[in-house]
Subunit: 138 residues, 2 copies
DNA sequence: TGGCAAATGATAAATCTTATTAGTTGGCAT
DNA sequence: ATGCCAACTAATAAGATTTATCATTTGCCA
């Protein structure tokens, strides 16, 4: 059997995970960096990227490759879907039942070995709905 | 009524669209650039980016913000889903029926004004399945 | 055909992510 | 407890992707 490389419990890694778990938003690497820097001012951005990537690979967190230019991260590993605001780019969880059977449909419809799926809704968040109705708020 | 800004039919724009329509893959901006350069060697990469963005905004083509680091483009505007190979990053269409009612479910489950959704499957394409079974092919 | 807004090509700059490297540290074996 | 060493970090550079700038060119309407 392959042995997974050991993953040490460094201060940086713990705090990155703690800060990510604190929020229900889906922060980008840079946003996590800002959050963590309040507790570890000398941490490097590369460390944040490296650890988010490592934790995503090991399944401790989720890496969301959603619309927009940046990757986002989520401490909620439980399967769920997301909705992204087309105006401000914010990403929220959306609590509708996971569709387990569409993976099978996809397997039938393609030559791929299907691993999973993700649904990303697009919409306008309540904040941006207000701002669109009353542009003076901007 | 708002008047849409006029969009001229330039040679570059036509050829970008023609080349994109030729393929069923979902090329990145750089891949489109390579395709177009065979016919217009002096075209600039910025022109390709600008036109893909403009055509996506006007609905002539689709901009896919799927997993991976780069945006991809698709001349098929008809609603459909995609599957992405986790090994090589390739994106293919997947022909399963569009789920029209889940937008409503999402609207109920959130405070967003829901515009639409996209399903992205993840899997291993047939080429990469072979390469995983027989690594000497790599 | 002339005028002009829109578009182009060339280039620079911005943004996001990954790689490199010398020094540091967590955790295991003594 | 202490020393060792692979894993890790911070700092920095580099790479990759995308957007902005601007002088020049071009499509299109009058």
């Amino acid at each position: 059997m392959d042995q997974l490389p050991s993953m040490r419990l460094t201060t940086q890694r713990q705090i990155i995970l703690e800060e990510l778990a604190k929020v229900t938003s889906h922060p980008t690497a840079n946003e996590v960096y800002d959050m963590v820097r309040k507790r570890l001012p000398r941490i490097g951005l590369g460390t944040v990227y490296r650890n988010l990537e490592l934790m995503a690979d090991s399944g401790v967190i989720l890496k969301l490759e959603v619309g927009g230019t940046q990757k986002r991260f989520d401490a909620t590993v439980y399967p769920h879907y997301h909705i992204r605001c087309s105006q401000c780019g914010k990403v929220d969880d959306i609590n509708i039942p996971v569709q387990p059977n569409i993976n099978d449909a996809a397997a039938v419809a393609s030559s791929y070995e299907v691993i999973g799926h993700h649904i990303e809704f697009t919409g306008v968040c309540s904040d941006c709905q207000l701002h669109l109705k009353d542009p003076s708020l901007n």
